[in-house]
């Protein structure tokens, strides 16, 4: 146990080969000894069988009075079996019927004695000494065993080194990935910090600028004329817009830091509340809300989900110039997935802007000068959905309407998500 513990704990170069060599020698020695004992046992059994056979022949000859034949049997057998070291056949009266001696260098000695009864009173005692050499076959066995063990050890070493090599590669790869991840996280954090600092620090001079413009407007309007008044109004308008942009930027930078909660959200009620709220905000109570089928309740973070729907509904309210505007909120379940959609009959989005629309501060170009808004809504929306590992995409025909599709988790996102949607019938718009 101590040896094993020391082997396990050994870290020096020479200790492991030494311990392995010692184990190898012990294993080889034990197996060779086992082989030797087995060979010895087998040989003894063989010799016993042979002696029994010879005894049967001997008895048969003696019972027929064929003493010379009996002697011939013993002579032939002892001469042909080179392991017979000595053989004595002694009659009951002490007469040595047959004797045979052979000198050789074999080491292992086995003595077999057998009493042979024949006829009515005849008795013959056989004393046979065998000497044989099991060293040579054991050495041959040991040699092949060593080869086998070495081959096995070689295979194990190869496999082990291969495993170590792969493990090392994996660890190195993981290490690089971790390093990249950490760097990315640091970079991301720095970016968020930067955005926060920028937006936060910009607010102060901006507020002063805005206050100054208000002060000018209140106290010195009578001194300004024509172009001066226009410039003052522009200062107030753009500083207000810049304030909105900075607020949006601040909000965007804080999106990833809000922890997500899990609760049951009844979407029907949520959508109705948002619609009511937006109708009041936009003073457009005539915008119809269509829900083709009752919306399900889902598990998720209420604030996040509300943000998503609110952003999309707000867009639908905001970018609609039709006399009878409507918004449709619904869902599809292709391939057991769950895709939500929000449709409207608004101004639509040209195909060329379907991708760029999600970039920050981008707005639909045709309405950029008329519609209010910071141009960060869809960007934040995309970021929120990305954080949930869902998908967001859109389908739109300019001047006819727009449909935003989204999923809220990877589990509810179909494999072929852009094409998985079920087309709406033409008359539904």
């Amino acid at each position: 146990m101590t040896l094993w513990t020391s082997a396990k704990n050994s870290r020096t170069i020479w200790q492991r080969p030494f311990i392995l060599g010692l184990l190898f020698a012990c294993l080889n020695g034990s197996l060779s000894l086992w082989y030797y004992q087995k060979q010895l046992q087998q040989r003894q059994e063989q010799l016993h069988q042979e002696v029994t056979l010879v005894t049967q022949f001997l008895r048969s000859a003696l019972q027929r009075g064929q003493y010379q034949n009996a002697r011939q049997i013993l002579k032939l057998w002892s001469q042909t079996r080179h392991e017979v070291s000595s053989l004595k056949a002694i009659a009951e009266n002490g007469y040595t019927f047959f004797t045979y001696e052979r000198s050789h260098q074999f080491t292992e000695t086995v003595l077999i004695t057998k009493t042979l009864h024949y006829g009515y009173q005849g008795q013959l005692d056989l004393q046979i000494t065998f000497k044989f050499d099991l060293t040579t076959p054991t050495l041959i066995f040991s040699f092949w065993l060593s080869l086998g063990l070495l081959a096995a050890l070689g295979l194990i070493a190869l496999t082990w080194s291969g495993t170590l090599y792969r493990k090392k590669n994996r660890l190195e790869k993981q290490s690089v990935q971790t390093q990249h991840f950490n760097e990315l996280q640091d970079s991301h954090q720095q970016l968020e910090d930067f955005a926060y600092i920028i937006s936060h620090d910009l607010k102060e001079p901006l507020r002063k600028l805005h206050q100054c413009s208000i002060f000018l407007n209140e106290e010195y309007t009578h001194q300004l004329q024509g172009r001066g008044l226009t410039c003052l109004e522009n200062i107030q308008t753009h500083s207000g817009r810049m304030d909105t942009l900075v607020d949006s930027l601040l909000h965007y930078s804080q999106l990833g830091n809000i922890p997500l909660q899990h609760e049951n959200i009844p979407l029907n009620a949520l959508i109705t509340n948002i619609h009511t709220s937006l109708s009041q905000d936009f003073l457009q109570e005539h915008v119809t809300l269509r829900i083709p089928q009752p919306l399900p309740s889902i598990e998720g973070d209420l604030i996040t989900v509300e943000n998503i729907f609110r952003n999309l509904l707000k867009n639908a309210f905001q970018y609609n110039d039709k006399p009878t505007p409507w918004i449709e909120v619904g869902y599809q379940t292709p391939s057991d997935s769950l895709i939500f959609y929000i449709r409207d009959n608004g101004i639509g989005i040209p195909v060329s802007q379907h991708k760029t629309i999600f970039q920050i501060f981008r707005r639909v170009s045709s309405q950029a000068h008329t519609a209010s808004g910071s141009g960060t809504g869809l960007t934040m929306l995309k970021r929120i959905i990305d954080r949930l590992h869902g998908k967001l995409w859109l389908d739109s025909i300019p001047n006819e309407g727009c449909t935003f599709y989204f999923t809220l988790s990877p589990e509810t996102t179909p494999q072929n998500w852009p094409e998985a949607i079920i087309p709406f019938p033409a008359e539904s718009i």
Binding site: G65, Y67, Q68, E92, N93, F97, Q121
Partner: protein, 278 residues
């Protein structure tokens, strides 16, 4: 007509003499105490020697068994025959006497004998101690490991109650006695001497019996018989003669004259055994 008969007789006799004097092959028959191939190899030098001397080819023939061998020589189907003493006595009893040529001299003895043996630590020291003993014989046809010893046991009145068994050979008998499986047994002298050091002792010796011999058919010309006899008895003096004899048996020293009466004691033994039903 009467004048023609002697003429025909002379013609037949001369034709017979002519036939024996020609180069027609002679047949040497060997009694089958060993494998035929081994016997042919052992007796080939002698056959070649006789063939060279006689300027006639000599073929070696080995019978399938002792009875066949006895029948072949008894019915004059063999020109020369080599036989054991027991076979010779049996042949005389069945077919009458045949001219003898020579007998073996083994280790300078023209006789041999057997031994009734037991272990040195066995309590029996005389033949008479073998009452109801376990007795080992060799081959049933063997002179020294069965016939003569059985005669001796008969003479000693030990046959009744004797627990005997044939073990096939002299060596098996000696081993059986040494191992204690039998109280006593009968072997030839050579086997006894070979195993004596292992713990055997001689309980009794059999009578001396004349050695194995060469005989010839009765119908062979007298001159040829004489020549054969002379040639055999002088083999040891010929160049390579010792080699010829040793090929048959290494302990043979020479071939000696022999007569039918030399086997009378064996004949008496065989007669007694025959009467006893063996």
């Amino acid at each position: 007509m009467l004048k023609i008969i002697p003429f025909i007789g002379i013609l037949l006799l001369s034709s017979h003499l002519w036939a024996d004097n020609t180069s027609s092959p002679l047949t040497l028959g060997i009694h089958p105490y060993l494998n035929p191939e081994v016997l042919k190899k052992r007796f080939s030098p002698l056959a070649d020697h006789l063939s060279n001397q006689l300027q006639r080819p000599i073929n070696i023939q080995v019978a399938n068994n002792y009875a066949e061998h006895i029948r072949y020589i008894g019915t004059d189907q063999l020109d020369i025959a080599y036989m054991g003493p027991a076979s010779y006595v049996q042949m005389i009893a069945e077919y009458g006497e045949k001219p003898t040529l020579a007998c073996l001299e083994v280790n300078h003895r023209t006789w041999f004998q057997g031994v009734i043996i037991n272990r040195q630590d066995h309590p029996a020291n005389e033949l008479s101690d073998l009452q109801n003993a376990r007795f080992a014989f060799g081959d049933p046809h063997s002179t020294m490991s069965h016939l003569v010893p059985r005669y001796m046991l008969m003479e000693a009145e030990l046959v009744k109650g004797l627990n005997s068994r044939f073990l096939g050979s002299h060596s098996n008998v000696a081993e059986a006695v040494l191992m204690g499986d039998f109280d006593a047994g009968a072997v030839k002298e050579a086997v006894f001497h070979a195993q004596k050091a292992n713990g055997l002792k001689a309980l009794a010796f059999t009578p001396k019996l004349s050695e194995h011999l060469f005989i010839t058919r009765s119908t062979l010309p007298t001159e040829l018989i004489k020549r054969l006899r002379l040639m055999l008895q002088n083999v040891h003096q010929q160049p390579g003669g010792e080699k010829i004899l040793h090929a048959i048996k290494p302990s043979i020293t020479r071939l000696m004259p022999v007569k039918s009466g030399d086997y009378d004691n064996l004949m008496k033994i065989m007669h007694s055994l025959q009467q006893a039903g063996f």
